[in-house]
Structure formats: C-alpha cells, structure tokens
Amino acid sequence: MSTDLQSRTAARPAKRAPKPTGPWRSNIGLKIAMAVSGVLLVLFIIVHMAGNLHVFEGREEMNAYAHGLRTLGEPLLPHETVLWVLRVGLIVLAAVHIWSAVVLTRRSLAARPVRYHSRKPAKGESRHAVATMRWGAAVLVLFVAWHLLDLTFRTVNPVKDVPDAYGAVVATFSPERWPVTVFYLLALVALGFHLRHGVWSAVQTIAGPDTKWRKRTQAVALAVALVVVVGFAIVPLSVTFGLVK
C-alpha cells in the first residue's frame, strides 16, 4: 500500500485574506486614472499655450484676454465663476494624476527589491521614458509652484497689478532675470519629454491594442510635444531678446 497520501503534510493554512481593493485600485485601474487625468491636463496645456500667444498682439489685447478669462460667463454667472470651476477642475486633475503616479511608482520600486549588478541601456520602444518621466515630473511640480507664485499670485513678480498680465510677462522674462527664463525653458524640456511618452502611453492605456494605431499615436505624441514646447518657449524668448517689450 502506498503511503504517499498518508505522509503528505496538511495544506498550509490560507494566508490572511488581503484587504479588498476594487479593480480601480489595481495597477491598471490607477494607470487608467493617470491616463484620463493626463489627457485632460494636456488639453488644458494646449489651450494655455494658445492663449499665451495673445502677448504678440500687444498689451491691450493680452490684458483683454486675461480679463475675459475672469469675466467668462458674465452676466449670467457671477464674476470669476467659470474661472474657479476650471481651477478646481485642474486641481482635482493634478491631484489624481500625481496621486496615482506616486502610488504606482512606490509599487514599482517595491517590485524590484534587489537591483541588477550590470545594466544595459534601455532598448524598448520608449527608452527615454525610463530616464525622463519621474525626474521630469519632479521638475514640473517645482515649476508649477514657481509659476503660480510668479504669474498668478505675483508674489515673486515685480508687477503686482493683477489685471496687467502683459506687464507681468515682460517683467519676469526681462534679460536681467535670466535664471527665470532658463528655469522656464528647462521645465519645458521636461514637459516635452513627458508629453512625448505620456500622450501615446495614455492612449495605449485607455483605448487599447492596435499596433498600427500605436505607431500613429507615437507620432502624434511627438508632434504635440514639439508644438507645445515651441508654442510656450517663443514667449519668454521673445521677451528676453526684445521682440516683446
């Protein structure tokens, strides 16, 4: 008689059940949250970039545009209502985007507790992303903080008069404040790399599989990144080199 079955040890007691986390807390669920919030933030960035170009129409047009943003929806709605709805929306989007990124990054770091001794350079489809997405994100967070203090709250801007948006732009990018311009351009480079990967990565995460469309969205991502970087960069460069005074 075989003793195999009798000698087999009892099954180990089941491990403590993990606390229930719905599908939206999973790695893919959070990634979809990051992708959706990211796409909406990209739309904001494109509108913001286009709005900035009013600076080339002169002081009055630019300030009228800035005023228009505050009075949007009037007289139907009270002063700055639409502006604040948009601002709260942006804050929520940024919070979702950053929170999901932090949770996923922590899980990723925990997923490789022991590192490799020898590493070869990345050779995947989006090899720059490994090096640029997370550091770039840190640069962008610092930049947004500075940018709000500079051009929204004017705390660090010489022009305290809020309705004079044109004056604030010209003052902050003046040649003697060159570190401000350099930081602005550095943040734009980080944003460009972020979009070049982020845009197609978001589409792949939300929409799905097709290889042909992946190649197309990669091309679109590169185009969006270039347009956004150039569109934003010409404003401070024009001020620094005296084209806008």
Binding site: P18, T21, G22, P23, W24, S26, N27, I28, G29, L30, K31, I32, L104, R107, S108, L109, A110, A111, R112, P113, V114, R115, Y116, H117, S118, R119, K120, A122, K123, G124, E125, S126, R127, A129, V130, M133, H197, W200, S201, Q204, T205, I206, A207, G208, P209, D210, T211, R214
Partner: protein
C-alpha cells in the same frame, strides 16, 4: 575561447548572495550558453565545490525554463532567443560575462540563478483557462474564427511564460505575460465566457504577487524571446477597462 564569468551565488532563499568570479579557459564556440555552464559545473563538482544552480529543461527554446540575465539582458544579447538557444560564438574570446537571476520581488531566488516563478502559476489559476465541454473533440471547422483573430491569438499563444518580460521591466511588471494570456484566450470564441472574470482575476493575482505596474517603456517586448508585442498590453488594458466598468 577564454571567458571570465561573474555569477550570482546564493546558497539558499534566505542567504545573502554575491557575485563570484570564475575563469574558463577552453570553451567551444559551438557550445550553447547552458553547455558552457555545464562545463563549469563539472569542474566545480570535480573540485568539490557546489555547482551553480540554474533552471533548464528542453534546451530547444520552447519550454520557458531557462532564465538567466546575461550582462544585464534577460536571455542575453541575441534578440528573440532563449538562453538555451544562445551560443558562445555570440561572445568574443576574453569576454567577461555577468550572469544574474531574474530580479523581481514576485520571483524570489531559491538558489543561485534559480527563481520561484509560481507567481505566474497563480496568475494562470486566477483566469488563464477556458471551460470546455467534455466529450469527443469537436470538428476543427465547427467554430469559425476570423483569420486575423486566429493569427493574433496564435502570436500571443507563443508566450512560454519564462518571465523575461518581468526581468527586463524597470517596474518588475508582469503585464506582457498577462496580456499574452488575455489576448490568446480572449480573441477566440472559446475564451468568451470567462473574458471579464479572467482579466479581473488575473490582474488581482498579479498585483497580489507584488508585480509592478506598466509604464509602456517597451523593455518587455524588446526582451521577449517569442517577440510578443506591446499590443497585448493594450488589449489587456482595454479588456480590463470594459470588465471593471461593468463590475462597478
């Protein structure tokens, strides 16, 4: 050819490991990478040392057992090739070669270069199957499948579950493996009944095992010996989105 090897030695799961150097003098260019390790092990055994433990089985590139990170690349420098099908003629005389195990929290080292890949088994148990009626096999043409779907499912089914995708991923993610299974089973009519529960179950088992998330860098697809593409991860994402929305 002469080789200088640096190999990860770790006597047990709990022991602390380290890279140990070995020199081999007379390696044939026609030897496979695993045969080169066999030669080293014969010498170690003759000298009374503990041979280097490594996983291997078919040595034909189809079983998915071999699992070495060679010079920082899972399965070594040759594209679309498992370690066992890699030959020493790909290296130069006097080369020094680093050999490490797959590195992932979900793949703990058992000994030297052998890792425990049962986390993949748990993902398969959570949904990598179809329910098929018993009885005689149905006629092959009883269930028509569009050629495009059949081809895509077949490409995904080429996955041998070796885990090179996890080893290559900067996030230690198992998404390419999981995507291959979801695509392989979800593209055919036979896989439809479990399609939603499959993806939700597999993703839950994947996260529970401690794999990281996907950042679409593509390192997995570049390392895959069976050339599984990033499209399967897109399919996984789309299936997950649909199933999660329906489950909510």
């Amino acid at each position: 050819m002469k080789l200088k090897l640096r190999i990860w030695r770790q006597s047990s799961a709990d022991a602390k490991g380290r890279m140990v150097s070995y020199e081999l003098d007379d390696v044939s260019e026609d030897a496979s990478f695993l045969e080169m390790l066999d030669v080293l092990n014969e010498r170690l055994i003759a000298e009374g040392d503990d041979p280097v433990a490594f996983d291997h089985d078919c040595r034909e590139g189809i079983c998915g057992a071999c699992s070495l990170v060679i010079d920082g690349q899972p399965h070594g420098p040759q594209a679309a090739t498992t370690t066992c099908q890699l030959h020493m003629r790909k290296f130069k005389d006097g080369d020094s070669i680093d050999i490490e195990p797959w590195r992932a929290g979900a793949f703990p080292v058992i000994k030297d270069l052998v890792v425990d890949r049962s986390a993949f088994d748990r993902i398969i148990q959570a949904g990598g199957y179809i329910s098929a009626p018993t009885g005689t096999a149905p006629d092959a043409h009883a269930v028509p499948i569009p050629k495009q779907d059949a081809d895509a499912a077949f490409s995904a089914a080429a996955c041998i579950g070796c885990g090179a995708c996890v080893a290559a991923c900067p996030n230690g993610s198992g998404m390419l493996f999981m995507g291959a299974k979801v695509a392989h089973l979800g593209l055919t009519p036979q896989g439809q009944p479990e399609r939603a529960t499959r993806v939700l179950g597999m993703v839950a088992a994947h996260d529970e095992a401690g794999f990281g998330g996907c950042t679409n860098t593509g390192e997995c697809a570049a390392a895959c010996p069976k050339e599984i593409g990033l499209d399967v991860i897109g399919r996984l994402n789309a299936d997950f989105r649909k199933a999660a929305i329906r489950a909510a």
